[in-house]
Structure formats: structure tokens, C-alpha cells
Amino acid sequence: MQGIAFVRLFKPIPLLDVQGLRLGHRSLFIFPEFRGVAYGVMAVVMILGALNFAINPALIIACLFTSILLVTLTHTHRNLLGLMIEPVRFPEVFAGDPVPIALLLREVDSRPRWAIGLKSERGMQTAPSLDLGANQRGMLTLDLPPQGRGPCTIGLLTLFSRYPLGLIRAWTHVAMAEALIVYPRPEALHADHLPISVPWQGRREPGPGAGGDDFIGLEGWRPGDSFGTIHWKASMQHATMLAKRFGGDSHQKIMPDKTWLCWEDAKLPEVEARLSRLCRWVLDADARHRPYGLKLPGLTLAPGTGSAHRRRCLEALAMFHQP
């Protein structure tokens, strides 16, 4: 892989953005594996032997083996050619969690594809291989090793296949266009960690976590659903993608009182521990559907609700004092 880095000069690495991309001739590499080279050497030795001893049937067999290797070249190449790759929105990743990477593959050429794998530069992580029927979709997932908070370097992903014989490998490099930001690890739940000095106005909930949106089960994921609702772990074991459904709606028409989550209130000595606590507060406050604001040294986010607001807050925490 490293040995052919110069090829990158000629073939630009496709950048995977929301539109997805289709694997064309220009973005596909193909090269024999070591065992493919061994096979080729064996075939050539057989040809030379057959010529030397003038045994034509042996020459036929040796030519057949050579041809099988060359035919495999086509098959391996076509196994990836024309695949549609679409990125999957990153779920929220907290520091210390494995970073889940997922690519949605779509087969649009009406022919099945077999044994497609995904590999990351980082730590040589490999995903289990995927079989795709004609005109089907499939998900390739990969867990990168856990990271600290802040922007995450995903690095180059490699989509590869050695099908059918494992002698030849076709691959493409994919760079994710979307950046991934790892949020601080939320602190474990304790009642006394709640922001007591915060001017909580209005009614107080009896305890954290008893808020409105209860997880009530899994359902088939439908196009149009947010990618964030996909339950990856469960989807892996099913034929279809599963999405988390929430219900038990307890929006009890609580008047949206404003809550401020302040850096000063998280009375902990270390920066990271404070960020952890703030992160926990953000999550809790968000779960209550209550407007909340975030005050960090040098940064104030006005109170608000919703997933966009929550993301803004978490990102602010993640990027706190990051270059």
C-alpha cells in the first residue's frame, strides 16, 4: 500500500461528501497480493517446465492457470467498479468511546458484489466483509480506536476486495469530507452533581433522566429518518437497518425556563473534569427539553433547545482550548 503511494499523484483520492460517489476506473487501484505473485510465479515456472520437457498438455494446464489469474483481475476489479458509496452521518462520539465509521454501499449495476472489506489507515482496523446482492444496499462499519475530545483524525479509509480467489486486491481510498468532533466524556450521573447554584427556575424535576423522550424500542429505518437514530449495533445483526424510536411523550407543556450551564458552577479542579461535568449537564438539560445556555470562559451560547443547539454546545465543549 505504502509502496504505491506515488500512484496517488495520478489518481486523486475521492472525497466522500454527502452526495456520495461512484467508484469509477479512475479511483480504483488493483494489484496482486503476495500470494497472487506466488501464483503467477508458479504458473510461469510451470510454463517453462512444460516448454522445457516439450509436454504440451502440461503447457495447456499452465496456460489455464495463467489465464485464471488474468480473468480474476477482471472479476476483482468489477467487484468494486460502479459501487455507490455514501457517507453515514457520524453519531455522537464521546471521548473514550470507539469511533464508529460507517459507509453505505449501494449496488446499482444489477450484479452482486462479494466480500467487500473496509480498512482504516489508523491501527490497521478491518471491518468484517460485506456481500451485496444486485441492487441492494449494505453498510460497512468499522470501529476506530477511542480518542480524546476534539477534532478526530479519521485518516484514509480503504475499501477493498480480494474476491474471487484472494490473489488480487482491488481497492479505493476514501477520505471523509465531514469532520468528526469527539465530545468530552460525560460524567457519570450523580444527583449532587447537578448545577445547584444555577438559578433553576420553575419546577424542578425529581431527578435526572426522567425526562420526556423515553426509548421505547427499535423499528425499521426509513429513508428520511435521521441517520442519528440508527441503532448500529442492532442493525449489524439484522437484515435491515434499525432505528431507535422514542415515545412516552412527556412534554408536559412545561414552560421553557432558561437554565444557564456555567463553567464556574462545575466546581472541579481539572479542566477536563469540568468539561465532563458540563457535558453531562448539557445532555441532561437537553433530555428535559428545557432551554439551556452555556457559559464558558470567552464563549457564551444563548439558551436554546433542539438537537442543533445541543450539538453546538457539545462542540463548544469539545473544542474548548483546542487549537
Binding site: 509436454i55 504440451n56 498438455p57 494446464i61 489455464l64 474476491y163 474471487p164 435491515t240
Partner: protein, 667 residues
């Protein structure tokens, strides 16, 4: 939407893959197992079966460490060395390789091990052809190649069904076949070997030998092996004149006839001997010779000039300059008339009259009377033939055993014998009567195959006859067997032995159906030998020249091989990339598209996003006087595609309607 993730264990082999690897390897190695030292084969098979038993028992196979493997390897080595004394000999090294593979199989666990043994399995398929190059062996090797390929596919696709993987393996091999043929035709052949494996010195081939004793020819008759095949480029002679000359036997020692010493020594005679003025056209034969240990190239009596790679000696045999390990093809012209440019040398005369000092007194006495009564050698020869004709001699494959003075016993008591008895006894009588004589062994007749228009000569056609020296005519062929059993010469060995109870089953004439099949098989086998095995560098050049590539050079062919090999994957991906499949598979769509083409000719072109009903509406409004018909067809097409209840009667009606639909242009 379906998502079907399959988990592939990256570095281990599934039990299915292991089991199939076992099957494939046993098939790949089976021919070698048969020819290896039996102890070693049994050991290998036992190791394999033990391994398979562990696998089938649901347990993980036990992987022996070096502590077990090294002693096993030592045992295998000692068995091989005890048999062959060296490892650097073809059979010994193959046996060693086979035992290594079986040992390696015991520790088959990771995919690297799998690839090692599968590649060795592929490689050993090539060595199969040291023992023979038949069509059957080639098909066998191809079938095993599919099997080995299947194992690799199974390993890549742990989740797929066996059926799907079989189909994939078959597809790979089928798609590889065209390139195989092209490469076979293109790869330039070597003239002469670059290196040689030390080979077991004696080539063990059943066939004629350089000596003849009673029983040696009749033993050969039981073998149905092909000795050579001949295609006549001129009109062939009748069977009775087909004498294929083999070893010429001069020396009689006891009961055994031997070739003269130094008959291979052709210095002095060389390739230029004998020169003669051509009498008549002669018979032009194209011989495809199977390997023989005699280094003899057979031809009809009497070859005029030696073919390439052979020399003609004074016995008028064609001697090959090198060993005949593989089938060889040559063209040779023969003339029926014996012709002798030179008289017998003194040494030859001495050889041709020599007899053992003692033995067979009655035969000596009989011949002595002929010598005293007749001065003319021709008369003596006639007397000898008459002796066979006048007494009740029987031609049989299994004459009674005689202990001593066998010629006497044969001539005066049992009077039952095979061609070697008649030829041997006749030559003995002639020599005693003062006529120089020698025994010729070879083949007589052969099976005429009208499919391939060739003659197949087998070991069963082996024969022995006599040549006598007449000063004015030279060596003249006399076949005493023909006097006793004319059918042997005229109709072949099968007919001549038709009443012999000991006739081997291979000589049974059989019914017409069986005979036909044997002929077809013989023809296929001959074609294989001729076209494939005999495809050497001259024929390669001739073949390409005939195709229009005149006299390709060695380097041109190498470049062509490389270009074809590099281009083929691209060509293949273009060919398989043409999407024949989706339309062809759906007859409803095909029918609908036919309807659309008709409308397109009338000026109404379907938009690719338009459904059948919408298109029908639009076409109906553009071609108002066909509106009813168009709507009917469009609705039926839509129903066929999307409703299961559309019956075959309706399908026929719809097809007929579309066929009869002739839309006229809107204007």
C-alpha cells in the same frame, strides 16, 4: 432494502474450506499416490483420513508440532531414499513433495497454510504429465483445477452456498479457456531442453524388444496399447502388404534371436544410405509415434529416406537419434519393392548363416536334405513353405510348452505355434539349408479407422517374419505365418485367432456399435496426439503462417504473448460489462420493447421515464386511428409485468397482437 452483512474470519479457515481443500488435494495428488512407494501413499492417506476424521467429529483438528512432524518427515524421506536412492530424481522429488503437502495439511489452520497447499496442488497437476499426456489426463487436471479454484472461492465467501461457489469457479475457468487457447498457440516452443531432470534410465514401455524367444510376441498381443498411428497421404496399401519393420534379428543363441551388435552404429551408412532410383510413387505416410524404448521409428517396408531426427541403417530400420519419451510425428516415404544396392558383406553372410552348434537334430536333418536335393535357393524356400503348408500346422496364441529342442518339437510333434515359432523355425531351416536368413520383428496390419482416415497399429498387431537373401534380388520377405494362417495377414490378428479359445478379450471383434465407439475414441485420441501433443515449433510457425502472420520470429511471439496477456482482462471486462442480462431475462419487458420499437418507427418515441400506461395514452392521442389497439396492448403489457395472474394464453394473444400491430405514421 436488504442489508446482508457477512462476517468473514480474516485469518482462519472454516471447516467447510478445510474439508473441500482435503477433497481437492486428494484428487490432485491421487495419480501420484498411485505411483509412489505404497508405504508412503498409505501413510499419507492415513494422515489425511485421521485429519478428516477429527474435522468431521466436530473437534478442531489437532495440529501437531515439529516434534511430531519432523519424525514423520524423516520416515517419509527414508522410504523415498530406500526406493530411489536419491531425492534428485523426478519420481523421488514428486514423492517428497506429496508427503510435504500431506504434512502441511495436518497443520492447515490459517489462510496462509491454505494458500501454500492449494498452490502446491496446482503445481503438482502439471507434473501429472510426466507419466502420460492423454486427453483423459488433461481433462482430469482441468477438473481438479476447477476444484482447487472452488476451495479458494469458498474461502473468500464463507457465507455463500456451495452451488453459487461452484458456478463461480466454473465461470472463471470457462472465461479463462479462450485465453488459454490463445496462449497455447502463441507461446513459442523451445527447440531442445534447457535442463533435464535425472530420469530413471529405463523407459518402461510395453512393446517390441531387441530379442525374440518363444512367447515374447504372443505376450505382446495381449496388450492393446497403441504403438503408432499412420495417416497415408497417398492411397494406402491393402492390409496384407502392411509390414511395419521393427528390430532385425540376426543372432540365434539357444532359443533366442537377438539383434546384431552395433546395429545402432550408423557411421558410414549415415542418412544418405541407401540411394535408389524411385520406382513408382511409393507410400507417403505421416506417422505419429508413441514412446518406445527401442529408439525405433516405425514405417512401412521399405523406407526410402530417414525422416528428420532419424537415420537409416543397413538393416533398413529408422533409428531415432534421441530417446522417444513423448509422441513424435514424422513423414516418411516407403517403397514396396526390396532393393539392395550392395551385396552382402562377408561378415553379414557369416551372421546370416550362423547356427548354434547343437540342438534340434531333426530340423537340421530336414534342412540338410533340402540342401542336398536343390541348388536353387528359391526352390529351398519353396520347400520350406511347402513343409508348413503340407502338414497340419495350427496358428495359436498359446501353443503347448516345450522344454528342449523346441524347434524340433514344434516342427514335428506339436505343430502349434504363433508367428515367432514359424518365423524362428523357418529361419533356422533356411540357415541350415544354406540360405542366408534373418528374422524381422515388427507389426503387421493395423486397424483402419475410416473416421480419421488413418491406421492405428497396436502392440496386438506385433508380428515376426523372415527375410532371406537371394543373390539376384537381395533380401526378400517371406512370411511363413501367412502360409499357415492367411487370415492373419489379410484380415488381422483378431480374425486369425477367431477360433482360438485363449484369445484375449481385447481382440474380440465385438459388435458394430462397440466397434464404432472404439473407432471414435481412437480417432479422438489420434487427433489429440496429432494436434495438441504434436504442436511443436515448426507446426506453430506453419499454423500462424497459414493464418496470415508469415513466419513469426521467436521475439514476436513473446511480445504477442505479453500483449495478449495484458489486453485480455480489459477485453474481458468490456465483454462481460455489456449488459445483456436484465432485458433478456424478462420476456414481458422484451415484448413491450418490441411494441415500443414499432411505435418509434411510427414516430412516437417512448421517454425512458414513461410508464406503459402513460405512454399508451400519449401514443394513442398521437395516433388516433390506432388508439384503441395501442391502449389494449399497453394495458396488457403492464398487466403482464405487474400481475401474476396473466395467463400463458393471454401472453400468446398479446404477442400475436403486437406482431400484427402495424402503426402508420401519424402523418
Amino acid at each position: 432494502m436488504n442489508i446482508a452483512p457477512t462476517i468473514a474470519p480474516a485469518f482462519s479457515c472454516s471447516r467447510r474450506v478445510m474439508a473441500w481443500a482435503w477433497v481437492a488435494l486428494v484428487f490432485s495428488l491421487a495419480p501420484h499416490l498411485l505411483s509412489m512407494p505404497p508405504g508412503l501413499s498409505v501413510g499419507c492417506l492415513m494422515a489425511g483420513c485421521y485429519w478428516l476424521w477429527r474435522l468431521s467429529g466436530g473437534r478442531t483438528p489437532w495440529f501437531p508440532g515439529l516434534i511430531v512432524q519432523l519424525p514423520l518427515l524423516g520416515i517419509a524421506l527414508s522410504i523415498i531414499l530406500a526406493e530411489h536412492e536419491t531425492l534428485f530424481e523426478q519420481e523421488a522429488s514428486i514423492a517428497f513433495l506429496v508427503s510435504l503437502i500431506f504434512l502441511k495439511m495436518l497443520e492447515l489452520r490459517r489462510d496462509r497454510d491454505l494458500y501454500v497447499i492449494i498452490l502446491l496442488g496446482y503445481f503438482l497437476l502439471g507434473t501429472l504429465f510426466f507419466d502420460g499426456q492423454s486427453l483423459f489426463q488433461t481433462f482430469y487436471a482441468m477438473a481438479v483445477a476447477v476444484l482447487l479454484t472452488l476451495v479458494l472461492i469458498l474461502h473468500q465467501r464463507p457465507g455463500a452456498s456451495l452451488n453459487v461457489c461452484w458456478r463461480q469457479a466454473g465461470t472463471l475457468v470457462l472465461q479463462a479457456l479462450p485465453l488459454t487457447v490463445i496462449l497455447f498457440l502463441l507461446i513459442p516452443r523451445l527447440n531442445g531442453a534447457l535442463w533435464r531432470l535425472p530420469q530413471s534410465t529405463s523407459l518402461a514401455v510395453t512393446g517390441l524388444s531387441e530379442s525374440m524367444q518363444p512367447g515374447s510376441i504372443s505376450g505382446l498381443v495381449r496388450s492393446n496399447k497403441v504403438a503408432f498411428r499412420v495417416e497415408f497421404l497417398t492411397s494406402p496399401p491393402e492390409t496384407a502388404r502392411m509390414y511395419w519393420r521393427g528390430p532385425v534379428l540376426w543372432r540365434l543363441e539357444g532359443e533366442t534371436w537377438h539383434v546384431r551388435s552395433g546395429f545402432r552404429d550408423v557411421t558410414g551408412s549415415g542418412t544418405s544410405w541407401p540411394h535408389r532410383e524411385t520406382k513408382g510413387p511409393g507410400w507417403v505416410q505421416q506417422v505419429t509415434l508413441e514412446p518406445n524404448s527401442l529408439k525405433l521409428m516405425f514405417a512401412l517396408e521399405f523406407p526410402e529416406l530417414p525422416p528428420e531426427g532419424g537415420v537409416l541403417n543397413r538393416d533398413r530400420q529408422i533409428l531415432s537419434l534421441k530417446e522417444i519419451h513423448s509422441p513424435r510425428r514424422y513423414t516418411v516415404v516407403s517403397h514396396p519393392d526390396p532393393f539392395n544396392p550392395e551385396p552382402l558383406t562377408d561378415r553379414e553372410a557369416q551372421w546370416a548363416l550362423a547356427l548354434p552348434d547343437t540342438g534340434n537334430p531333426r530340423a537340421r536333418e530336414l534342412a540338410a536334405t533340402w540342401k542336398n536335393q536343390m541348388a536353387d535357393p528359391a526352390a529351398i524356400i519353396q520347400a520350406g513353405l511347402d513343409f508348413f503348408a503340407d502338414h497340419p500346422f495350427v496358428y495359436t496364441l498359446s501353443p503347448p510348452q516345450l522344454l528342449h529342442d523346441r524347434i524340433d518339437g514344434f516342427l514335428f510333434e506339436t505343430r502349434k505355434g504363433f508367428c515367432e515359432h514359424y518365423a524362428g523355425a523357418f529361419a533356422f531351416l533356411m540357415r541350415r539349408a544354406g540360405v542366408a536368413a534373418r528374422v524381422i520383428t515388427g507389426f503387421q496390419g493395423g486397424m483402419v479407422n475410416d473416421l480419421g482416415n488413418h491406421v492405428t497399429v497396436r502392440n496386438a498387431d506385433a508380428h515376426a517374419w523372415v527375410e532371406v537373401w537371394l543373390p539376384e534380388r537381395g533380401w526378400v520377405r517371406i512370411d511363413p505365418t501367412a502360409v499357415v494362417a492367411p487370415a492373419r495377414v489379410a484380415e488381422g490378428i483378431g480374425e486369425a485367432l477367431a477360433l482360438d479359445p485363449d484369445r484375449p478379450p481385447s481382440l474380440n471383434p465385438g459388435n458394430g456399435f462397440l466397434r464404432r465407439w472404439l473407432q471414435i475414441w481412437d480417432w479422438v485420441d489420434y487427433g489429440w496426439n496429432d494436434l495438441i501433443i504434436g504442436f511443436d515449433s515448426q507446426r506453430q510457425i506453419a499454423w500462424w503462417t497459414a493464418l496470415g502472420w508469415v513466419q513469426p520470429e521467436y521475439g514476436d511471439l513473446v511480445i504477442a504473448v505479453i500483449v495478449v496477456a495484458l489486453l485480455f482482462p480489459w477485453i474481458l471486462s468490456v465483454v462481460v460489462g455489456i449488459n445483456f442480462s436484465s432485458v433478456r431475462r424478462d420476456p414481458a419487458l422484451m415484448t413491450y420493447l418490441k411494441f415500443c420499437r414499432k411505435l418509434a418507427k411510427a414516430g412516437v418515441i417512448r421517454d425512458s421515464r414513461e410508464g406503459a400506461l402513460a405512454f399508451g395514452e400519449r401514443a394513442g392521442s398521437q395516433l388516433p386511428h390506432h388508439r384503441r389497439e395501442i391502449l389494449l396492448i399497453a394495458r396488457a403489457c403492464a398487466r403482464w409485468r405487474y400481475e401474476k395472474s396473466f395467463s400463458s394464453r393471454e401472453i400468446r394473444a398479446l404477442k400475436r397482437r403486437i406482431r400484427d400491430f402495424r402503426p402508420r405514421h401519424s402523418q
